[in-house]
Subunit: 287 residues, 2 copies
């Protein structure tokens, strides 16, 4: 199949390479990682690659470390050559080239793509962001829940609900009005009764690398309990602290929540600061 000459065009311009046969484009058959580039290195790279390999298997894609190395090495070399030390490195792994039809090729030869982009976080957002509620509801799909796969129309449609830069992100719920995540981050909240909680991702959502780090390392090191549970939409009005997290920005406190037409301010509070400090002490890149 590879190096076949195909009959195809993009916007009327003939294309002869076989990239258009990639199952990533055809079906979103693949996964991605969005990783921080900090002082020329990629923090949490091992966690990213472990998650990638685990989840790839769930999509029928066998991925070993040796396949990913040339891609990572090449992008790091390119970045060094251009004197670039900070930003975001995105890894995309696809189900490779395929014949027409949903059936997997007899042997899936994954394609591994690395792609650099400039740092996007605005300085002001480091201090805290405003969130809004998305109307779009995530479907319940236990087979895909947790996986950072390439089927992201849910997020695209949710993110298209607003254009106002005042809101950096939006809360996303499932069809039972349970909180899942934001469009691009996981979420932790604190209430007096329940302590720190983060949504269960059994039926929807992405099991983020930063969420994993906080649950596995940071909260335990602080001896602060944290619960994974179903979080009904009503609970949010009771929360005393709220932060979002991902592996590019680390922890970002939420300082305002648009409810109806009112932007309700939220204090960052010492509880969030404690977690944030524990993270940045161990991983200064997320300062």
């Amino acid at each position: 199949m590879e190096n076949n000459c195909i009959i195809a065009n993009i916007d009327g311009v003939p294309v002869t390479n076989d990239d258009l046969l990639d199952r990533g484009l055809a079906y979103g058959h693949g996964l991605f990682e969005t990783m921080c580039l900090h002082e020329g290195s990629i923090p949490l790279l091992d966690r990213h690659l472990a998650r990638l390999a685990d989840d790839a298997l769930k999509l029928g894609i066998e991925l070993d470390q040796a396949m990913v190395e040339p891609t990572i090495n090449n992008i790091q070399q390119s970045l060094v050559q251009q004197g670039i030390t900070h930003g975001v490195v995105k890894l995309i792994v696809t189900g490779g080239l395929g014949s027409p039809g949903y059936k997997n090729p007899d042997v899936i030869r994954p394609r591994i793509i690395a792609l650099y982009s400039k740092p996007t976080a605005k300085q002001s957002e480091q201090q805290g962001i405003n969130l809004r509620y998305c109307d779009y509801r995530l479907p319940w799909n236990p087979r895909l829940a947790g996986i950072k796969h390439l089927n992201r129309l849910d997020q695209v449609l949710a993110r298209s609900e607003w254009a106002d830069d005042c809101y950096a992100d939006g809360l996303m719920f499932d069809q039972n009005d349970c909180l899942v995540e934001t469009t691009c981050a996981n979420i932790f909240l604190y209430t007096t009764g329940l302590g720190w909680i983060t949504p269960s991702l059994k039926g929807a959502g992405v099991s983020g690398v930063m969420r994993g780090l906080l649950l596995d390392e940071i909260f335990p090191a602080l001896a602060v309990p944290v619960t994974i549970s179903e979080i009904k939409i009503d609970l949010i009005s009771q929360c005393e602290a709220l932060f979002v997290c991902n592996s590019v920005r680390g922890i970002t406190p939420v300082i305002g929540l648009l409810e109806g037409n009112i932007l309700k301010p939220l204090a960052i509070g010492s509880r969030t600061k404690v977690v944030q400090l524990a993270l940045t002490d161990n991983y200064p890149c997320f300062k």
Copy 2:
């Protein structure tokens, strides 16, 4: 954004064009049509393009006919030049190039891809196919239901449940065990009590062009009633006729259904033949 030089590689080989920024690959932000090429022309092209434009809007992509024409014209010219008159033409429309993040670009400039592939239907399959039941359940998602979008992991995972060529396709159900479609076709079934019925696609499934043609034109021309309704899994064992349809193969009768370990034969019967004949009389390409 366009013609930007990017820092990226595929499998360690540097890439400098900006194709990797396509939101079709990144998020499955796009749609596709799989169309029959018959004697050098594309039957039902108008229906395909109308559906494409309608559904693109639901994904925030404004598509007018003039954008699609160069792509269609170019692939038809290429095929004529190579003396190719039969096969499949796939159109892919994506959300175009984008910056990192789910947010749509201020102006979405769709990319339109046309891609030819050889006819795939085996002669034997024209006469009838065997189906099996897929275990994978389609999520309930009214916002995406009906759209032939690029988020197709559901179909990829369902199709990966079997390798035996004896079964051409599999029945797919939603999480309430209601019949939706097969992995790559819509479905019609006949029972004595209910007559011809086809599943409602309110929460899942693709609203196929051939399904639309049958419902709008072919059944009405025959004055044969057909109902769109919820179809529970139990009803299937009562059906007296069953066919699948899509716009590449037309109507394909189902002649066997794997239930447990037993391949239960199904007669094609005169009722299916009447519908099939009405289709092929008007559209000989689907003979």
